[in-house]
């Protein structure tokens, strides 16, 4: 069994023990100061001296050999002895014996059975020797052989257990190390096999590359032959296609020239139309502004019409009122005519009685013959008077009838006039409302005319923009003309170049 696997853990264990030694030095000094022992300084000096050499070992060498491990183990069990000496006579001196067992257990970090056995032997010798030579250094109040033997038995038991643990631990570590070595060996074998496989793969790749080169050479030769055939075919096809393209370019140049002329003509027409449009626009603007002005005048006149209509309405209402005032007068006139008719009836009766009287007087005068001539005259006068009265009465009757008829017709006419005046009032109200509508409409027309004038102003900017666009189109057309000329020249050069390339291609 190789101990190589135990080297790292033994080195770490040695460093751990050296650290514990240094800590023990400090604790020994502290205990000495606390206990006030006069022999504390030599104890601490011995502890420091025991710590120095192992410290140099573990930090200057990579390995800790068997002699060093044994020396470390013996040094380790010295520290509990120093504590026992320092605490001699103290009640806790006996308790410090446990430190031997702790230190003995701590020596397992060295993974060395011989070191454990040496440490256990030194503990036994320490107890036996000092129980005889300096019992106070070991047991408070003195010791004896049975107590030493009891301690020795315990030390032996612990040492046995620790030896078994160290054996198992060492076997485990070395087994693991062997497994690691085997795995490393297998890895090395795998690396070798991989190297061989990679070499084989490289050779295979080289062979494949060589075959690929051969195949590529054959392929390139075949492709060269195919390329020559293809060049010929391509030359023929190129000649046909490029010839067609060149002829198309020539015809396109001609078409471009004709299109240019057509565009020039269209552009001239567009410029002329633009000028006409500008003039029309100006006229329209003037007319629209005139319409706006006329619309304002129309609004004013309609306002006057509305005012006059209002006055007519007021006059009609006054006339209706005046006409209504005539109706009682006419009615009164009718009553007067009726009263006159009644008086006329009385007059007619008087005339009739006068006639009867004249008639009776004539009769009486006739009976009295001579004496009654005067009476006859009176009777004739009275008859004449009654006749005239009757005639006047009839004439008055006719006049009264005419007056009644005239009064009725006047009343009817007044009624008609009142109705007409009312209808005039209604009509004038309609006229006023219509005038208001016309005022509103004409106002809207004026606003529309103003808006139209603004639109015409805006259209003026559009017309100017159209002029600029036409100018830019003219410039672009000029450039297009130059390009078309250049294309025509280039097409001729292309034709010549294609012919020379095709000649070279066929020659290749």
């Amino acid at each position: 069994m190789s101990d190589a696997a135990l080297v790292p853990i033994r080195r770490a264990g040695a460093r751990l023990l050296v650290g514990a030694f240094a800590a023990n030095c400090v604790v020994l000094g502290a205990v000495g100061l606390t206990a006030g022992k006069s022999g504390a300084f030599p104890v601490v000096a011995i502890a420091v001296a025991l710590t120095l050499i192992p410290t140099v070992w573990v930090f200057r060498s990579e390995t800790v050999d068997a002699a060093q491990r044994i020396a470390l183990a013996l040094t380790a069990v010295c520290f509990p002895g120093l504590f026992l000496y320092l605490m001699s006579g103290h009640l806790w001196q006996m308790d410090m014996h446990m430190y031997f067992f702790a230190m003995l257990a701590g020596l397992t970090v060295l993974c060395d059975r011989r070191a454990l056995i040496a440490a256990a032997g030194l503990i036994a010798v320490h107890h036996l020797a000092f129980s005889i030579l300096a019992p106070d250094w070991v047991f408070a109040g003195g010791g004896d052989i049975p107590r030493v033997m009891l301690h020795a038995v315990i030390v032996v038991l612990q040492t046995g257990m620790l030896l078994w643990v160290v054996g198992q631990l060492s076997a485990l570590i070395t087994g693991k190390a062997e497994e690691v070595q085997r795995s490393l060996a297998l890895q090395v074998e795998a690396d070798v096999a991989r190297g061989e496989a990679e070499a084989s793969l490289k050779a295979l790749k080289i062979a494949q590359a060589e075959a690929e080169r051969h195949r590529a050479a054959e392929e390139s030769m075949r492709r060269a032959a195919e390329a020559a055939d293809r060049r010929r075919l391509v030359a023929d096809a190129l000649e046909a296609r490029l010839g067609a393209i060149v002829s198309d370019l020539n015809s396109m140049g001609v078409q471009l020239a004709s299109s240019k002329e057509e565009l020039v003509r269209l552009l001239s027409g567009a410029a002329l139309r633009s000028e006409q449009l500008r003039k029309s626009h100006r006229r329209a603007e003037q007319e629209v502004r005139a319409v706006a002005a006329d619309t304002g005048a129309l609004v004013s006149s309609i306002h006057a019409v509305g005012t006059n209509s209002g006055e007519v309405r007021d006059t009609a209402r006054a006339a209706a009122s005046a006409t209504r005032q005539l109706e009682p007068e006419i009615n009164s006139l009718g009553g007067t005519v009726d009263a006159a008719s009644q008086i006329l009836g009385i007059i007619s009766q008087v005339a009739a009685q006068s006639h009867m009287l004249s008639f009776n007087a004539a009769i009486e005068a006739a009976r009295q013959s001579g004496d009654g001539s005067g009476f006859l005259v009176v009777a004739s006068e009275m008859k004449l008077l009654s006749s005239q009265t009757a005639e006047a009465t009839r004439q008055i009757e006719r006049h009264l009838t005419d007056i009644r008829a005239a009064t009725a017709s006047v009343s009817s006419a007044i009624s008609d006039a009142t109705g007409k005046v009312l209808s005039i009032d209604v009509s004038t109200a309609g006229i006023v409302e219509a005038v208001s509508d016309q005022i509103r409409a004409t106002t809207e027309i004026a606003a529309a005319a103003d808006e139209m004038a603004a639109q015409i102003d805006a259209a003026s900017g559009d017309v100017e923009a159209l002029d600029r666009v036409l100018s830019e189109v003219a410039n672009a057309m000029q450039q297009a003309d130059q390009i078309a000329t250049s294309v025509s020249a280039r097409s001729v050069e292309l034709d010549q170049t294609v012919r020379s390339v095709l000649a070279e291609l066929r020659a290749a």
Binding site: W57, S61, Q68, G81, L82, I132, W137
Partner: protein
């Protein structure tokens, strides 16, 4: 080199009890006369070093003294005696701390 270091370390371990004993403030020591049976001759130098003579064997072979062990051992060696540590005044193991003080 490492082996020498281990040897030195073992020597230090072995010397530690001796150093402790020699550095003790007071201890008992037995001086064995190596040149005859005239141990009484050690009494004067030991006493001159502050040691207390505890016992001189009747045959004059040994002397038991109490004092600073280092000084007493040096004095005994110079006088031709072998210094040996003692646990108590009579060399018995039953000595106690109280007896030493």
């Amino acid at each position: 080199m490492l082996k020498v270091g281990a040897f030195v370390q073992l020597a230090c371990v072995a010397a530690a009890p001796l150093v402790l004993w020699l550095s003790a403030p007071t201890a008992y020591i037995r001086g064995v006369d190596l040149e005859g049976r005239d141990a009484i001759r050690f009494a004067a130098p030991l006493a001159s070093r502050g040691a207390q003579i505890v016992q001189i064997s009747p045959d004059g072979e040994t002397v038991v003294a109490r004092g600073r062990p280092g000084v007493m051992a040096f004095t005994l060696l110079r006088a031709g005696a072998l210094p040996l540590p003692l646990a108590g005044p009579g060399g018995a193991c039953a000595s106690s701390a109280g007896a030493q003080t």
